[in-house]
């Protein structure tokens, strides 16, 4: 899987010129533009910030020069004097999971529309030190607001310790309200999934959970336990997985040796996929022998074999709302609160009534 071809093309590089003319090729600044346009730098500044009181002809002349020399205002200087970085920090977790990724995309779009840019950093691992250093890093960027997507429980400890002064939103909730939190109600979603299985007549339902330190994993597990508890059914210790299809597969191979359950609620769609793979290999039919529910409704879930019953989360909506909350807060409408978006059960072919 290494590099096998390496075609390097040396091009006559224009950097040779630079050695001839000793003067650095400095990017033009506002005074250069002013000089060329025959106005003062303040006038150029006014053009840039389209101030109303400027003569149309002057404005055009300045714009022409800007165009001609390819002038771009220096954002660092602007940020310095304005004390506004126009940057929103995003603390993400280093993973390519569908949910976070989709939300980040939505966040980026919403932020850009509002004239903000994103500074994204990810935590290498879920431990406290790594999270804290990532947060420290973001805060030194003088971000104006912060979105926390990293779903590890430790993140909240770090947030508390740093006593963040900028408005922030966490895309997960632990119940404790530090800043604004916004989340899909994972507990509710997990209860929907579990209830669905119960209503189909299943009484022996197991749960394959995500990693223990993930807030979502914890919430989904809670929902599962709550629902089983209310139905007065036997609960079993959930299996702690790692979200991957491979884990679901190997866990399936192991668990299916003793067929003491008829339904599985998986913490996400990938693990459900792996589990179904294991079922096939053990010669079991889904949903004939085993019913399976996932979580997330990734776009592929509808095309699994069989199509997967799962709980849909609207990740795009979450991302958009996150930015909208932060913008409100930046405008002064401070309102520390808590919002939940309801997930939705999508019933497909991977679940069926328990055959007596």
């Amino acid at each position: 899987m290494g590099i096998v071809q390496r075609v390097t093309v040396h091009i006559l590089d224009e950097t040779g010129y630079q050695q001839m003319e000793p003067e650095k090729v400095r990017a033009p600044n506002i005074r250069d533009v002013a000089r060329l346009a025959g106005v003062s730098y303040q006038t150029v500044s006014r053009v840039l910030n389209d101030s109303p009181s400027i003569r149309e002809t002057t404005k055009q002349r300045v714009l022409d020069v800007i165009q001609e020399v390819g002038y771009r205002p220096n954002q660092a200087a602007r940020a310095l004097v304005n004390r506004r970085s126009r940057t929103i920090g995003v603390l993400s977790s280093q993973s390519a999971h569908y949910g976070p990724t989709t939300s980040i995309n939505a966040i980026e779009v919403a932020a850009r529309e509002a004239g903000y840019r994103l500074s994204i950093t990810s935590t290498a691992s879920g431990d406290y030190a790594s999270i804290k250093s990532a947060l420290d890093y973001l805060l030194s960027q003088s971000i104006e607001a912060l979105v926390v997507i990293a779903p590890q429980a430790r993140v909240f400890d770090a947030l508390r310790d740093l006593s963040i002064t900028v408005p922030f939103v966490t895309l997960e909730s632990t119940g404790e309200n530090l800043g604004h939190s916004l989340s899909v109600d994972q507990v509710y979603g997990a209860r929907l999934a579990t209830r669905h299985l119960i209503e189909l007549g299943h009484t022996e339902i197991i749960h394959i959970s995500g990693p223990q330190d993930w807030i979502e994993a914890d919430a989904r597990m809670k929902g599962y336990l709550q629902e089983l508890g209310e139905a007065e059914l036997r609960t079993r210790a959930p299996i702690l997985g790692d979200w991957t299809a491979s884990f679901g597969y190997y866990a399936g191979l192991e668990l299916l040796r003793f067929r003491d359950f008829s339904a599985v609620f998986c913490g996400n769609d990938q693990m459900a996929l792996g589990f179904m793979h294991a079922c096939r290999e053990m010669g079991l039919d889904v949903p004939g022998d085993i019913s399976i529910v996932g979580f997330d409704d990734i776009p592929e879930a509808a095309h699994f074999f069989p199509p997967l019953t799962t709980v849909r989360q609207n990740f795009v909506e979450i991302g958009r709302r996150a930015i909208s909350i932060l913008l409100d807060e930046l405008r002064g409408e401070q309102e520390v609160g808590h919002e939940q978006i309801a997930p939705e059960l999508i019933v497909r072919a991977s679940t069926a009534r328990l055959s007596a």
Copy 2:
């Protein structure tokens, strides 16, 4: 799918204090720290940049004050005076595809390790204006280098027009070398996939491609056509898809009405998944009746039904290499070239010898 619950908790906000003391709560700057530590601002600056010539006791005193007041150096000011933003721009496409996402993660990690941060922006659509404005935006951030992940062909036009002065890497290649380009050899990968089908005895092989304006889609199509051409087999106009599983599914339903082919090479794993779904629904066996090959080897592909034969790309490696190339170039080892990483064919159960 809307917001159904909204629990807003108003907390006694400490912002009340701010109204009492009229003076703004300005963040401490280097001179504040200096005053409190009883040294000059230059000394503090030296501590920050750990300059060698500074007495240990002084250094400790300054560090204590920094810790105490929670001082963070202002990056904008630093960037301004150093003429270095320590930022690498990333132009991405607005999508949550596995490949780009994985690469971006790797890029982020590698960049952070080298002391750079990322400014990521995505193109709303593939059209020229949108790409150009995204690039313009990045360039105004005074980025030091640029990684282009947006896989649309138009991106190259925009890159040429803007005559970028910073080092840049494109993660796709069109053959024209504008900057450094680094890519998985998509043509080669597509040939591997196609050849595999040919070697299994298939002679009627169709191709479901990605969107026409994506460079990868184009390259994979080329590879498919080349390989069929060399084997002197009938080529057919590829079907232009949109990368989604749903497209693969509907295309499958349509195409399978006339069973005039025995193998399908799909432009990515998702479309292959959808196609297999369609096969099942039409009562066809994979690979018994139809052999299917995907592209990318997403982690789920091994657990599809049947497990998917596909072409693996090492996205993490690509991300890492991209940063390493840029860092080399920033250090002055200018070398405009072109690197290709070889993809690898992963044979699984979705392909089989053509049954006579």
